[in-house]
């Protein structure tokens, strides 16, 4: 008689579980004024031990908190240049997050992200330098200009296909760059606006206290962008847009159930643009100047490289990518052009091997492992083929 061996269908990923008192009723904290919970706790009874087990179904908020806390605690103890790099990282990460909202969530392939940052930054800086508005107004003028620029740019996006729209926005960026460099009143400074007032006092500028203050501001900016990301992407707008995401059929479905996805796209675009405007104003304040380089293709490609390396369309991708590329680009300036080659090489390798950037590697690996174990299981069954449904009952823990 042959001994039948049973195999586990697949390994469960190791998971830490709390064991709360089974008798106490479950009480969860809610976000004020909403019915939402802070964390996604899931309770279940273990069928073997009959104990109540509690696990965190979505651990991402935990990682975000740990990561951001570590970042904000460690940075003030670093050297001046590292603090600057950290602040630049915050700014780039914010831009990337907002860009991801436009490209990933709204599905509008815009290359005018930096153009919006630049235009609002320029307008905000000009309002301060030439019109004499005090610096807090920069934080108002920026988003307002971003809102207007976003509204204008959003208009053709419903008519044009992805690549054609990308070309159009690239053209807009180029026009902005040429326009700014042509401005005769900025000739003195090569098209840059300098000596912008800032939330950093003049005496502190680029010294330790000023750097720390600047970093604090940039970090708040990053938090704000993350909040906006969360509010848009995980709430109603994001849900509506995800319904109409993957192509014509999805769009047809969305319309059939009454979703006005075009308007949702434009709303996200305009919201992100306003936020990008704020980033632009902040940028001009942080460096007390803004130069036409913000419109350049090189700068845009650098940001694009960040998103690609981290993973297009994911918040963690935008932030992780920004961290890696900013560190290489600004931290390794001693090795000269090699660092750009390094960024290009990372981009190449990541894109060839990873479907969705570095932050998607884990999922990709899990899929790969699942597929492989499925293949092995299929080979083990007597017929040498896929496990039929009626056979599956014999398999332990299906």
């Amino acid at each position: 008689m042959t001994v039948k061996t049973y195999y586990k269908v697949r390994r469960r990923p190791w998971e830490y579980k709390l064991s709360p008192d089974g008798k106490v009723a479950r009480n969860r904290l809610r976000l004020p004024f909403t019915r939402r919970h802070f964390l996604k706790w899931r309770d279940a009874y273990n069928p073997k031990s009959l104990k109540r087990e509690r696990r965190l179904a979505d651990k991402k908020p935990l990682w975000w908190t740990i990561g951001l806390l570590a970042f904000v605690v460690v940075t003030p103890f670093l050297s001046n240049s590292m603090i600057s790099i950290a602040a630049i990282f915050c700014i780039y990460a914010s831009i990337n997050l907002l860009w991801t909202l436009i490209v990933g969530t709204a599905g509008i392939f815009s290359l005018a992200t930096l153009a919006i940052v630049g235009v609002s930054g320029y307008a905000a800086a000009a309002s301060n330098v030439f019109l004499g508005l005090p610096w807090p107004f920069i934080l108002l003028v920026g988003p307002m200009v971003g809102f207007v620029a976003g509204s204008i740019l959003a208009a053709p996006s419903t008519r044009l296909d992805g690549l054609y729209y990308a070309l159009l926005t690239m053209g807009v960026a180029e026009i902005c760059r040429v326009f700014v460099t042509q401005l005769r009143s900025l000739t003195q400074t090569n098209g840059a606006i300098t000596q912008v007032d800032s939330f950093i006092p003049e005496d502190w500028f680029l010294q330790r206290p000023g750097l720390l203050l600047g970093f604090a501001g940039a970090f708040c900016l990053l938090l704000g962008s993350l909040l906006l990301w969360r509010l848009i992407n995980s709430e109603r707008l994001g849900l509506l847009l995800r319904t109409a995401k993957t192509g014509r059929e999805d769009e047809a479905f969305a319309e059939a159930v009454g979703i006005d996805f075009r308007r949702a796209r434009l709303t996200v675009f305009v919201l992100s643009s306003s936020a990008l405007g704020l980033v632009g104003g902040f940028y001009a304040m942080y460096f007390k100047s803004i130069s036409p380089n913000i419109f350049s293709l090189d700068q845009l490609l650098l940001l694009f490289a960040m998103m690609v390396i981290g993973g297009l369309g994911r918040a963690e991708g935008a932030v992780v990518g920004a961290a890696i590329v900013t560190l290489i680009d600004k931290g390794f300036i001693e090795i000269g052009p090699l660092r750009i080659i390094l960024v290009a090489a990372i981009m190449l390798v990541v894109t060839i091997f990873a479907r969705e950037g570095l932050t998607g590697v884990r999922d990709q690996f899990r899929d790969f492992r699942k597929r492989k174990s499925g293949e092995r299981r299929a080979q083990r069954t007597e017929k040498g083929g896929e496990a039929m449904p009626e056979e599956a009952v014999e398999v332990h823990d299906k």
Binding site: L239, E249, D250, A252, F253, E255, A256
Partner: protein, 240 residues
Amino acid sequence: MDNVLFGCKGLELSFAGRKILSGVSLSLNSGELLGLVGPNGAGKTSLFEVFCGRYKSDCGSVFLEGKDITRQGFYNRTQSGLGRTFQSPIVPMSLSVAETFRATRKAWKPYLSRHDAEWAARLAHLTVNWETPAATLGAFDRRKLILACILMRRPKVILMDEPASGLINAEIDELELIIRRLVDEYHMGVVLIEHRLELLAAVADRTVVLDLGKVIAEGTPEDVFLNPRVKAAYFENVDA
């Protein structure tokens, strides 16, 4: 015809000089199931596309409850109470069933509650785990999903484009049950495209036959079957 719920008048549609629809006029009462039949290329689906606003007709008008909705967009018509399903069983590729319902509930104000979604799912006989990704559902469940999403808002009219295609007989029977219930219990008007006449005979109250963009016959299924023009359209090569 004062209590006409939904209809169209003199619709014309042409692509690149080719006439797709010429002078189509239809009307639908509430609580009526209208079958729309016709051979391939008759313009049935195009007519639906004009009904729901994805194609712009050259002339003619579409009205719902006496209101002209010709100029409205698809989602707008949906919001005014015109539901529509597609020939291919489409569902959102990146959402789960629960998320699809949630998106539908929040498509426009007033937002619906989860109970509405549960009610609609029951009405559409959708009995799957809501955590399932919609893309992994079978063809019938997909059709039920979109139907449930549409039903959630209690539409007045539902346009169904070949809902039975790709289903096995038992499933078709279940589908007939669902549709009849919508018509009889909830007094919705349903327009059903089907190119198999015999299937329509069982459910439809009235049948309209479309050929080459024109209405060639209208009436009860039995009458329509015997109409020589219909026979000619369907069995061109057979002497009728």
